[in-house]
Symmetry: C2
Subunit: 338 residues, 2 copies
DNA sequence: GTGAAAGCGCTAACAC
DNA sequence: GTGTTAGCGCTTTCAC
């Protein structure tokens, strides 16, 4: 049994005894100066035949796709499974669905050729970007993507000046870092170990900058870079670092690393917060509960996604971004670890 | 400054002094019986002009889109942020990207009208489905989506018989439940509290069925349904239940709920595993570390996604699914909580 | 070995 | 108020 070919505008037009133009207008809700009778007849035919407009034909004709591309530039296949990313994407996808836009998810390996992706990104109305890697690499990517002529929305980027038709959406990482730094300083501690992912990431830099702001007189700040994607490697790195020197406080660049730090301290018999203080960052529901409850910074990740969706949809309607940069506040969360 | 119109096949053809047919063939790698010189000339022109084929036109012509839709039927806007879902989607999106397919993510509210979505799903080559809700609702959805005539791949569904051109990909939840049940039974415990999400979900049923298999003689099995999306509500429900009766073991239907259960037990001064045993399910890297280390079941969520991608791509190439159902094994993970 | 031409299904300007 | 028509950019058959 071969499935019946899907009905087209023509089929419906014939069935309703009108021209395709009329059907097109009805389907698109342009009832201006149309008799109620015709409209009713067409609507009946549409229902009867189960007609759906062919999106590819429509896209070809109008060059609008009702689709936003999300490109994650990362070397880890599990990029989507990071708690922060996950919430941003959830918010984005959700808000877009609500406004009848689709989200096209694609991963770009930092070392893979761009062309395939550039080509695939073509059938979206705009592009959103999640980038790790050093600043110059990120700039190259932004430039390349801009060449497609599509509006670009970049998450968690710190970039000045922001190029034309590009919008940055981020949280105030620096303020979060500062709050923690001030707290550490308020406790009279100055020997701090910062645990950050190996792969540079602008938000992490901002958190560290904030930490420095807050500490003010940066007694001794040591930076430990860990390969975040490999739990085992993180443990090993922490163990080795702590064997060499135990700091007064550990500033972890996210809650997962904070949990790991508490674990590593436990392995050498140090308690949190009694012996060593530990702070986290991003505090998302998906990140499991840690003991003791973390002093951390609550991230508006989901809202970052929904706000980005609104910005994009409006950009597409109005022709320009209403703002070049949207910075959402973070919320300090006092726990018992710091 | 108006952006120059993107080059089309025609532009390239004129630049290379050949017909559009030739350019099309070169772009698609159909070099059969073509002179090396022509090919080279066309390739040069393509490079020089920075030509990319228009995907919408191609789709219209070929009715292939190189795109898979992922539709999550759930009432929670944060559906994507569930650890299990997150890993499946990460695997899927990643494997699809590698095979030059895009993943189009869309959420469907259980109460929202289907039509909009059915329409949007049109521009994909196949549909993957994540569904919660009662069995009859799920069946209706499968039927409706099948009407689009697209291949359908459903995650974590237990369904018999499986309809035509539909493929189910799931993990062996029942075996996982059974392993835990047997362990509980081996410890000589029989007063068990199962904590499950309010909203029915076939995988959860399977885990419970497995638990019953394992317990064999189901002393006393109480089921507590909680509104999983609301942390606060979960705590409250657990507190109330434990105030009424403290079981010998808690079978949580996922690790997040297990963590919550341990917390609730701590609030009434009960220790795990000394006073009460607790088991989890799904054990994914993103789910934070719990203390004590959970006895749980390790889920192949990421692999579920990558395998699904392969199945889909092959289905599209060959015309039929090579298997109607793919069940991946789970791996028991002995911890200290049970 | 290469080209001409039909047509995928739709929208919108214009004619009636 | 409704219909005619010209493409949007591409693939593919068939003719040369």
């Amino acid at each position: 049994m071969t499935r019946a070919r899907a009905p087209t505008l023509h089929t419906v037009a014939r069935a309703a005894g009108v021209s395709t133009a009329i059907v097109s207008r009805v389907v698109n809700g342009h009832y201006h100066g149309m008799s109620a009778a015709t409209r009713a007849r067409v609507e009946a035919a549409v229902d009867r035949l189960g007609y759906f407009p062919n999106r590819a034909a429509r896209s070809l004709r109008t060059s609008r796709h009702h689709r936003i591309a999300l490109i994650a530039v990362d070397s880890s296949p599990e990029f989507l499974a990071d708690p922060f990313t996950t919430y941003v994407v959830a918010g984005l996808s959700n808000a877009l669905s609500e406004q009848d836009y689709g989200l096209l998810v694609q991963r770009l390996n930092r070392r893979a050729p761009l062309d395939m992706l550039l080509m695939r990104a073509q059938d979206a109305d705009a592009i959103t970007l999640f980038m790790s890697g050093p600043q110059d690499e990120r700039l190259v990517l932004i430039t390349r993507f801009r060449e497609l002529g599509l509006p670009l929305l970049v998450f968690q980027e710190t970039l000045a000046p922001i190029p034309d038709d590009v919008c940055v959406v981020r949280q105030d990482d620096r303020a979060g870092g500062r709050w923690l730094g001030e707290r550490i300083r308020g406790l009279g501690l100055s020997d701090v170990l910062a645990v950050v992912p190996e792969l540079a990431w602008p938000a992490i830099e901002a958190r560290l900058a904030g930490l420095r702001d807050g500490l003010d007189e940066p007694g001794s700040l040591t930076i430990l870079k860990v390969a975040e994607t490999d739990m085992q490697a993180v443990s090993t790195a922490l163990d080795r670092q702590l064997a060499a020197h135990v700091p007064e406080a550990i500033f972890a660049s996210n809650d997962q690393l904070a949990a790991q730090s508490i674990g590593a301290l436990a392995r050498i018999g140090r308690e949190v917060p009694a012996d060593v203080r530990v702070s986290g960052f991003n505090c998302l529901p998906i990140t499991g509960t840690v003991h003791p409850p973390l002093t951390t910074i609550r991230s508006p990740a989901f809202a970052l996604g929904t706000r980005a969706a609104d910005l994009l949809v409006r950009r597409l309607a109005e022709g320009r971004f209403e703002t070049k940069e949207l910075v959402l506040p973070v919320e300090p969360q006092a726990g018992q670890s710091l």
